[in-house]
Symmetry: C2
Subunit: 227 residues, 2 copies
Amino acid sequence: MQRHFEVVEKELMERLLAMGGLTERMISSAVEALVERKTKPLETVAALEDEVNQLHIEVDDRCLKMIALHQPTATDLRFIMAAIKINSDLERIGDQAVNISENTALLLDEPQLKKKLLDIPRMAALAQRMLKDSLAAFVGKDVALARAVIAQDDAEDQLKSEAFHELQQLMQTDSSTVQRALCLILIARNLERIADHATNIAEDVIFIVLGKDIRHGAEAREPAPPA
Amino acid sequence: MQRHFEVVEKELMERLLAMGGLTERMISSAVEALVERKTKPLETVAALEDEVNQLHIEVDDRCLKMIALHQPTATDLRFIMAAIKINSDLERIGDQAVNISENTALLLDEPQLKKKLLDIPRMAALAQRMLKDSLAAFVGKDVALARAVIAQDDAEDQLKSEAFHELQQLMQTDSSTVQRALCLILIARNLERIADHATNIAEDVIFIVLGKDIRHGAEAREPAPPA
C-alpha cells in the first residue's frame, strides 16, 4: 500500500509541476507580448489557460481519491493538503497571467508611452524567478530555498509601489497617458499577486517538510529556540 | 466514530461561519468608512483581520486532524475538501477588505470627488449579498441558492467595467482627480474579487452536495440530461 502511495504521490507532483511549467509559460508569453509589442504570444496565453484549468480540476480529484483510498497520515497527508493549496495558487497565477494578457492587448492598440514600461519587466523577472524557485523548493523539499522565496516578496511589493507612484504622476502631468498608465498599474498589481502566490507555495513547502504553519507571521510570534 | 465525526464537522462549520461573519463585518466597516467618510471603522477592519488570520490557521489544522483521525470518505471527505477551499477564500476576502480599507484611508485624506462614488456602493452591496448567500447555501447545503450566487457574478463584473470606464474618463478630463479615481478603481477591483471568492464558495457548496466539480464551465460542457 505504501509503495503504491509513493507512485500516486509522484504522479500528483508531476501534475503540479506540469501546471507550474504551463503558468510560467503563460507569464513569459504575456510579458513577451508586452515588452516586444507582439500580439502572437497572447494567443499562447489563452491556449495554455485551458490546459491549466483542466489540470486544476484533475489535481483536486486526484487529491480526493488519494485520501479516500490510502487514508494517509503525517507527512503524506501534509503533502496532499499542501498539494490542494498549491493547485489553487497555480490556477490563480494562470488567471493573473490572463489579466496581464488582457491589459497588454489594450496597450498594443495604442502608441507606446515615452516612459515605456519603467520597472515592470524587472517586476516580471522577479515574480517569474520566485515562481520557479518555489516549485524547485517543492520538488526538492528545500526549506532554505522556500525561505529565500518568501524573503523576496518585499522587494516585489517595493517595485510595485514605485511603479504605482511613477505611473500616477505620469497620468497627472499628461492626461493622454491615462488609459495606458492604468493598464500598466493593473499589470504591476497582477505581477505582485503572482509573487504573493509564489510566496504561498513556499510557505506550503515549509509546512510539508517541517509540519509548521508559518503563515500570518506565526513563526515570528514563536519564542526563539534555545541556543 | 461516525457520531463523533458529526460533532467535529459541526465545530468546523461553526468556525467557517464565524470567519464568514468576521469578513462580512470587515467589508461593511470598510465600506462604511468610505461612504460615511469616517476613519473609525477602519480600525475595526484591522482588528478583525487578526481574528480571521487566526481562524484561517485553526481551520486548516482542524481539517488535517479530521482526515487523520476519522479517515472520512464520500460526502464527509468532500465536505472537508470544500472546507479547506472555503477557508482559503474567506481569508482572501479578508485581505481584499484590508485593501479597500487602505485605499479608503488615502481617500479620506483628500476632498471628496464631485462625482462621489458612482456605483461603488452598489457593487459593495452586491458583493456582500453574494458572500452572505454563499455562506447560507453552505450551511443549508442549498444548491439552488448556490447557483443563484454564481448567476450574480456577471452583474458584478458589469458594474466594475462601468466604474472603470467612468473613472478613467474622469482622470482624463480632470487631472486633479487622478489619485482619488485610482483609489476607487482599485476598490472596485477588490469588490469584484470578493464576488469571485463568493462564487468559489458557491461552487464548493455544489461540489459538497452533488459531488460535481462545476468550475471552469465544466457543467456547460456536459451533455444535456435526458428529458
